[in-house]
């Protein structure tokens, strides 16, 4: 079983309970998921995939896992699962959004986030839930991806089941039920985060009923970021707008393309 003490409850993450604690003197985060009927098999499989996915990386741009998946209760009929992750210093993106960021900081953010996302996309994995709570800026300036609990390996069968991936406000057109989020959908979500960093606003308003939000996602091309923040340099406008095209074929197709374009913009802005 997981050897963790000094537990302090943190904010819940999706269907997870999240605690800070210590394991053998090292700060860790404990994540616990209840397995409730009727979807316990799906939830268990998702947790198994999340831990396996995190364990396959050893890179500061993706949060590290510090344990295997532990089953809670009767192994034949577990009532929950848990695992440990490294405790990250720094701040969640959600804590940093609000004020308008400098354009160069936004370019650095896109490049950094796309760098971590590249690790997933190179392995044909789509994160599917890029939102302010799942991205963290470490104290050393590294942007780190967390919570790939809804990630999907493009070669695996979907196990989303009853859970619609994504967070309201941070979904792509392909997140609408019936759609298939791909790497270009993660790119769209990076665009949303960058738009929010530049303007303090969301490009597509998620308020109102879900049906109208989904209709806006599928049918409306959001305004250019330049319309909300006129002093945005053209190269950065093109970068952000290039993420947020309603038509997936016209976006950067994956994080590798986005990272390369962002690096160019960042260099241009630093000159």
């Amino acid at each position: 079983m997981l050897d963790v003490v000094d537990l302090v409850a943190l904010r819940p993450g999706g269907q997870k309970l999240v605690y800070a604690g210590s394991s053998q003197g090292v700060p860790v985060v404990l994540k616990v998921i209840s397995l409730m009927p009727p979807h316990q098999a799906l939830v268990l499989e998702r947790a198994r995939r999340e831990v396996l996915l995190l364990a396959s990386y050893n890179d500061r741009r993706i949060v590290s896992v510090r344990s295997g998946l532990a089953v809670l209760g009767d192994p034949a009929a577990p009532h929950g699962v848990a695992w440990l992750e490294e405790k990250l210093d720094g701040a969640d993106l959600g804590e940093l959004l609000g004020p308008q960021w400098a354009p160069s900081a936004v370019a650095e953010f896109i490049e950094g986030l796309a760098g971590g996302l590249t690790l997933l996309h190179e392995a044909d994995v789509v994160h599917r839930d890029l939102s302010p709570g799942n991205v963290r800026l470490r104290a050393d300036g590294t942007w780190t991806l967390m919570d790939p609990g809804l990630a999907k390996h493009l070669r695996d069968l979907s196990i989303t089941g009853v859970f619609q991936p994504g967070t309201p406000g941070y979904r792509s057109p392909e997140h609408v039920p019936g759609g298939t989020p791909g790497t270009h959908s993660d790119v769209f979500c990076v665009g949303i985060l960058a738009f929010a960093a530049l303007t303090g606003e969301l490009p597509i308003d998620p308020s109102g009923d879900e049906r109208s939000y989904f209709a806006r996602l599928r049918e409306t091309q959001c305004a250019s970021v330049s319309a909300r923040r006129a002093d945005t340099p053209t190269s950065l406008v093109e970068l952000v707008d290039g993420c947020l095209d309603r038509q997936p074929a016209r976006r950067f197709l994956d994080a590798m393309e986005l990272r390369n374009a962002a690096a160019q913009v960042r260099e241009d802005l630093q000159r």
Binding site: G178, T183, Q247, P248, A249, R250, L253
Partner: protein, 387 residues
Amino acid sequence: MSLLVHDGRRNGHLLWCREALGSKRVDGIILNPFCTPWVARDRNPSVADAIAALRATRPDVMILVDPTTHGAVLPGTTLWDNYGSWGLLWPRGEISLDGPARIAEHVAAVFDMQQSLDVPLVAPTVELDRPNGAQAELALEIAHEARRLNRQCTQALVARRSFWTAGPDLDAFVGELAQLRATRWLVTPMRDQQGYPPDLTDYDATAGWLRTIHSLSLRSAVIAAHSDWVGVLAASAGANAVGTGWDQGQRICSPASFRGGGGGSYRLYSPHPGLLARFASEVAEAIQDVTPEFAYAMRGNNAIPSNETDHRAQHFESLGDLVHQIVESGPGARQRVPAMRHVLEGAEISWRHVLSLGILGVGNAEFGGWFANAKAGFDRYARAERL
């Protein structure tokens, strides 16, 4: 590259292809197993001999062999006379894409065939009537298998009107296609009927077709296959080549393309590039009688063709010039759409004039069929793109 001639079933077809290539009016030929046999039969040379003859005429000619799997698996196909000699495309001896193993075998067989003929690889596909569902998944599975075997292969998309009108679902599917990062796309609109001009009364379908070409052309070369005059619109959306020919079966693809029978009556036609149209000779003569100078200008300063050779030459020259004009106006839709709009505005003025003359055979039906419906679809596309 701007004009490609599709394979045809007429006697003398190969000779006419060589004639067109020799005159430099066309840049390539797209052969297919429904028109050219693998093994020579009757008056039809084998595909290997046909390719050799085309290359002897012009060594640099681009030759594609479209496996036309979409025709082979199409319900109702009966035109097996040439296709029947291409058994090598189906290693198990039956036409079936049922399951990953058969898909992989067919794609590999298609590529083996193309490599043996030393032509670029063109992936097979199936016809789609909507961008989601089992058939769309099958098309993606085939395309991914093709990409797995060769990332540089040309990918193919063949789809019906209902596919092009699917709005956001279409865009999502095209996003999946773009992920293939194909170097070239062969995009074929499957029409409901075989006649030309095609029925373009569904403006959303034309707009969806153009939007798709626009999206694919951002990363790939796009051939607007079986499109003829309508292909000029595709060039404005980003296509860099248009598939055409001298018979309806080359200018258009429909389920009838894969069924026997018919043949139609022989008529001589006269291209009128100024009206983006082609008229039977008696209609062309009627326009000529009423307004000779205007008629001459509308024909691109050509005489009314007196024989099929003249007709073919004029067709390729006038269509090729127009496609070239649009393609040369810029690298993409942003530059080309205004150029296309300029051409359409000029043609509309000419149409209004010729309609005012009350000539039999040049009425509102022809205006709609040849021009107005196509323009309405183009306008819908351009408006949505804010171009």
